[in-house]
């Protein structure tokens, strides 16, 4: 049986990675990811975890090490944030293109400049087209659960893609929360040993990462796109299995009090819990407001999202990163495209909030819902605004 512990979320993340029996961990410390890597280093140094811990000189090397180890058939883990992710990004494309099931926790943090160590989703959005599966946690328990789920999905022979588990920097990484940690036997029942389809082995030589001439590159990218699309049902299946094993349910798109809602807020990550409190308050005041939370960012669950959003008259999309000059946050761009593709056209208002660690409060969500409601009623043009920006 697992146990309920009071634990910092970063430590719990490291513990569950240890329970997944990883072979190789390569990581470079960066705020606010540091505690995850430090604790894994301790687990290896103290003999609790039989793994290679490679203290690399940069994030670029961390991902390169994981690529090499995964190609040799190892179960790998790394973790980073913000600038570290940016430095690593070159190799992240290679990890997904080579179909290596690396798992990475990203402690989401703003990108420089100005330099800022606090939480937003700049790194998550920067990673959106790297070909990695991306899930998002809202609390510490979900970080543990999604990491376990990540290995099961990544290594599934029908998927074989790297998975990034996003957890908000500080607001999750540095919180001490009550968490159910599974025990080793429970993890082993859910997560079978990794059996690579292809691996580097001197006895059976192969070439990983050969040149792709113009005659083959397009086909390589098509195959990768199909792999990402094909991953979605496996991700859902692995969550259903997770529920059977551990009793906690996850879906690509999750809802909170959406029944009969005229206005839907759409959020990603830990601000969703604040948004739930705001929805409770607004519902108690008789306002028909509900909440939709995106659990799966890649592959983008467009149909699942539209199925939920189409019931509302208006949607308030909350972005936590900038997509300069598009007059929209990166999430809203994709939400609008998905709605258009499915022939659904609710009133959409976009709010960019919580940049670089600025708090997003219950009152902020109330204001967003009120503005969206007002825009809908008055027929104001759809648009975007940066919440609480000082003029």
């Amino acid at each position: 049986m697992g146990k309920r512990v009071g634990m910092e979320v970063s430590i719990a993340a490291a513990e569950v990675v240890g329970l997944c029996d990883v072979d190789v961990i390569a990581a470079y410390p960066i705020t606010p990811q540091t505690h995850i890597v430090e604790h894994l280093s301790e687990l290896v140094a103290e003999g609790h975890l039989d793994a290679e811990f490679v203290p690399v000189e940069s994030e670029h090397s961390a991902m390169s090490t994981c690529v090499g180890a995964a190609a040799a058939g190892a179960r790998t883990f790394t973790s980073t944030s913000s600038q570290g992710y940016a430095l690593m990004a070159e190799i992240c494309y290679i990890a997904s293109s080579l179909r290596l099931p690396i798992v990475m926790a990203v402690a989401n943090r703003a990108l420089s400049a100005p330099i800022n160590i606090w939480n937003d989703h700049s790194d998550m959005m920067m990673a959106r087209d790297t070909g990695w599966i991306q899930t998002v946690a809202e609390n510490g328990q979900e970080v543990v659960d999604l990491l376990l789920h990540a290995y099961r999905v990544a290594e599934d022979p029908r998927v074989l893609l790297p998975v990034m588990v996003n957890l908000d920097g500080f607001t999750l990484t540095h919180m001490i929360e009550p968490i159910w940690l599974p025990d080793k036997e429970e993890v082993e029942r859910y997560l079978p040993p990794y059996k690579p389809q292809l691996r580097l082995d001197p006895r059976n030589p192969m070439t990983f990462g050969p040149v792709g001439m113009p005659e083959v590159y397009t086909e390589a990218k098509k195959a990768q796109d199909e792999a990402m699309n094909g991953a979605l049902p496996v991700i859902v299946e692995a969550w259903k299995e997770f529920e059977k094993h551990f009793g906690r349910a996850y879906q690509p798109v999750e809802t909170y009090k959406t029944d009969g809602a005229e206005i839907l807020l759409l959020t990603v990550g830990s601000v969703s819990e604040t948004a739930m409190t705001a929805v409770d308050k607004m519902r108690s005041e008789g306002k028909q407001v509900g909440l939709v939370r995106l659990r799966l960012w890649r592959p983008f669950p467009a149909k699942e999202l539209v199925d939920v959003l189409k019931q509302a008259k208006a949607v308030a999309v909350v972005d936590r990163a900038m997509a300069f000059s598009t007059r929209s946050g990166p999430l809203c761009v994709e939400v609008k495209a998905a709605l258009y593709d499915h022939g659904v056209s609710p009133y959409v208002q976009n709010f960019i909030a919580g940049l670089g660690g600025r708090d997003v409060t219950v009152e902020d969500f109330e204001k967003m819902a009120a503005k969206t409601s007002e825009g809908l009623a008055k027929g104001l043009p759809m648009g975007y605004e940066i919440v609480n920006v000082r003029e």
Binding site: S97, L98, V216
Partner: protein, 97 residues
């Protein structure tokens, strides 16, 4: 699978574009990149093997008589052999079509 050109359907590509056998580059025709071909005048050739040594694409092979002949399946027409030949025995000749 059209090994000569590498042109296949996306469904036929190995996982991650991995090459599952060693030495597959030997099947790839690079001779169609060429605009000029090296032609050896065996009257001048002294069998020194400099063309064989310098060729970056392993085009030259030694014949039973000890001369070196080019395999145009691979030759990209770079001209290094002609430049390095100490006897000026190799001429680069325009491809006709």
């Amino acid at each position: 699978m059209a090994k000569e050109t590498g042109v296949v359907s996306w469904k036929e590509l190995a996982l991650g574009c991995t090459l599952t056998e060693p030495g597959t580059a030997a099947q790839l025709k690079t001779g169609d990149w060429r605009s000029k071909r090296p032609v050896t005048n065996y009257e001048l050739c002294n069998k020194c093997g400099q063309c064989y040594i310098f060729c970056p694409d392993m085009v030259y092979s030694r014949t039973a008589e000890g001369y070196y002949e080019a395999n145009y399946y691979y030759c990209k027409g770079c001209g290094i052999c002609a430049r390095e030949c100490p006897k000026d025995a190799i001429q680069m000749v325009e491809e006709e079509n």
